[in-house]
């Protein structure tokens, strides 16, 4: 279901971008003249562009484009003119992409989108380069203008594609793409200038060496992706452990994570932070791995001693997560997710302003899900029958200001009511 929707969106995108690419390319071919004589570089540069795209290092997970061909396409624009540049770009993206996607089972629509994006970005580069040619005959400024326009367009289009496909706010994707973009842009600007100089000096034999930094960037991006994956897999594995220790938490965690992120957005937290809140919500009860499941599931009232034992889970959760560097921001939130604005919470009895907003969000979302959880007929939380949504919301309102933060309860009501 989700997958077909994604493919449908991708096809619409492909139509839009493909049309734009065809129009731009036709314009460049017809109107931008740039007479140059053929040389060995007409073969070397496209070959390098192909290799840069084809290097056997996996990077992007969904098959969206991070450009590696730029230095060689810019070089082509200098020695073979705009048509050569666009042709090189389309050739490299299409052939390398097709060869790689056969191995990785990538949706063909995404390959088409990548080619269209590549063609549009290259055309933009050509226009910018032509504009600079009016002022300067030196090659370096022309190459830089090409790079700048190319990178800007590529960045905008990738953000647009991500936004259309994922449905997340555009600023989100823009920030992410920009992070990757700015850093690699500096390296690319250097590389493009270097290629331009080597071309001008006739040192074509040395141009293949520029593949080394391109390979390094690719390897680096791959390792960053590994770090990212490890992080999420650690979360998964910890959740698995928790579910092994206490089977009732299944489903609960997913719902809590989803609503926590939505509430965080509603309260105006940045989207990066909201995502952290989501992860904290998944892990908030991880300390319950160390709690006796008999006591958690015990019907009726707990003794003071048992209560103390259960209440330890907030501290234990923080302790379990503390060895992992990337969990550092989550640790205090999880430690304090049972604190109450009126100071009657645990473990420290902090008051409203001392409790992080993220902890207050988790407290509300967690309580709501615990109240409404029906467990599909399986033995659920042993101490009460599930409430309806309205009853639970009324209960949250009743406790707002004492047990829960009023503003969070208000935002949560809006999320639940879907406004």
């Amino acid at each position: 279901m989700h997958r077909t929707r994604t493919i449908h969106k991708a096809q619409v995108l492909l139509l839009q971008l493909g049309a734009a690419a065809v129009v731009l390319t036709a314009y460049v071919v017809t109107f931008v003249h740039f007479p140059l004589s053929p040389g060995p570089l007409w073969v070397i540069l496209p070959a390098l562009a192909f290799l840069a795209e084809f290097l056997p290092v996996e990077v992007s997970r969904r098959g969206l484009r991070i450009t590696f061909t730029l230095p060689y396409v810019a070089g082509m624009a200098l020695v073979a003119g705009p048509v050569g540049a666009i042709a090189t770009e389309v050739f490299a993206t299409l052939t390398a992409g097709a060869l790689r996607s056969r191995k990785r089972n990538v949706e063909p629509a995404f390959l088409g989108i990548n080619v269209a994006v590549a063609a549009i970005a290259a055309s933009a580069g050509v226009f910018a380069m032509n504009a600079v040619r009016g002022f300067s005959t030196r090659l370096e400024p022309q190459a830089l203008a090409f790079t700048l326009a190319y990178a800007a367009l590529n960045f905008l289009l990738v953000a647009y594609v991500e936004w259309t496909v994922s449905g997340r706010s555009i600023s989100d994707n823009a920030v992410r793409a920009l992070e990757i973009g700015v850093r690699s842009f500096l390296v690319y600007a250097l590389l493009v200038s270097a290629v331009a100089i080597l071309v001008k000096q006739g040192l074509s034999w040395s141009i293949p060496f520029t593949l080394v930094p391109v390979w390094a960037i690719r390897t680096g991006l791959k390792q960053k992706a590994v770090l990212h994956e490890q992080y999420y897999e650690t979360i998964t594995a910890l959740t698995l452990m928790l579910q092994r220790a206490h089977p009732y938490t299944q489903g609960h965690l997913e719902r809590v994570a989803y609503s926590a992120e939505e509430v965080a957005r509603k309260l105006g937290l940045s989207s990066a932070r909201s995502r952290l809140v989501r992860e904290a919500a998944v892990l908030h009860d991880v300390g319950k791995i160390a709690v006796d499941e008999k006591i958690l599931d015990k019907p009726g009232k707990l003794t003071a001693e048992e209560m103390d034992h259960v209440r330890k889970h907030a501290e234990w959760g923080a302790e379990i997560l503390s060895p992992v560097a990337r969990f550092a921001p989550l640790v205090p939130w999880i430690l304090k997710h049972h604190e109450r604005p009126d100071g009657h919470g645990y473990p420290k009895g902090l008051v409203l302003n001392e409790i992080p907003i993220e902890s207050r969000i988790i407290a509300v979302v967690d309580a709501f899900d615990a109240m409404t959880d029906s467990q599909d007929g399986k033995p659920g939380r042993a101490y009460r029958d599930p409430m309806t949504v309205d009853e639970a919301l009324a209960e949250l309102d009743r406790c707002a200001g004492t047990q829960f933060d009023e503003s969070v309860v208000k935002a949560f009501r809006e999320v639940v009511k879907g406004s």
């Binding site: 994956e229 006796d292 008999k294």
Partner: protein, 221 residues
Amino acid sequence: MDLMAWAVLAAAAAATLWLVVYVKIFLPKQVEERFLDSMSAFSRAVELRFPGQTHLTEDVEALAVRLGNELDFSRERMRRLRTVARLQDIGLCALPYALINQRPSYDWSEAEQATYDRHPEVGGAMLDLVPSLRDLTEIVRCHHARFDGSDGCPSGEDIPIEARVLKVAVDYAWTSRMMGELIAQDKIFDGKGSEYCPAVVDALARVLRSSRAREIEHRVA
């Protein structure tokens, strides 16, 4: 070529050099460190659930690493050994809390003992669900396997070497904590060839000899 061109080329070369060093040396190190860090989250969780095991993981890992060195483990093998040392017992979190914490093991019924004996399998099944840990499944599944064969596991040289090392390390660390080093040594050396892999037991003997020598040196000094 003018000065500007030389400067650009030099900068590009420097950037390339830095990139290669970063990507080949610093990043892999960071990836590995982060990975081991997250593994200690798992051992921390098991130790919190079963406080009787506090710091046992550290002892086991230290001993396992020394055995691995003694057996000339490759870098990759050593990485796997250290990783599994930290997460071998994640299957324990599926065991009833009371069984481990409130009842001594000699008091267990047969059914309870069977529940305990399933924890390597449960742990292995959990790892199977996590793509980057899947290659460790077999080691975790066999980390209590007897060398001369036991239910559901291969025997002899078919047990992954990492698992054979861990079995010796775990049993030695555990017994020497409960009953003292001498009894632990007896247990391991008596089990050579039946319960434990002979090569690993020999490695343990060498490790113990060298640490005893160091101890005597200390005392003399």
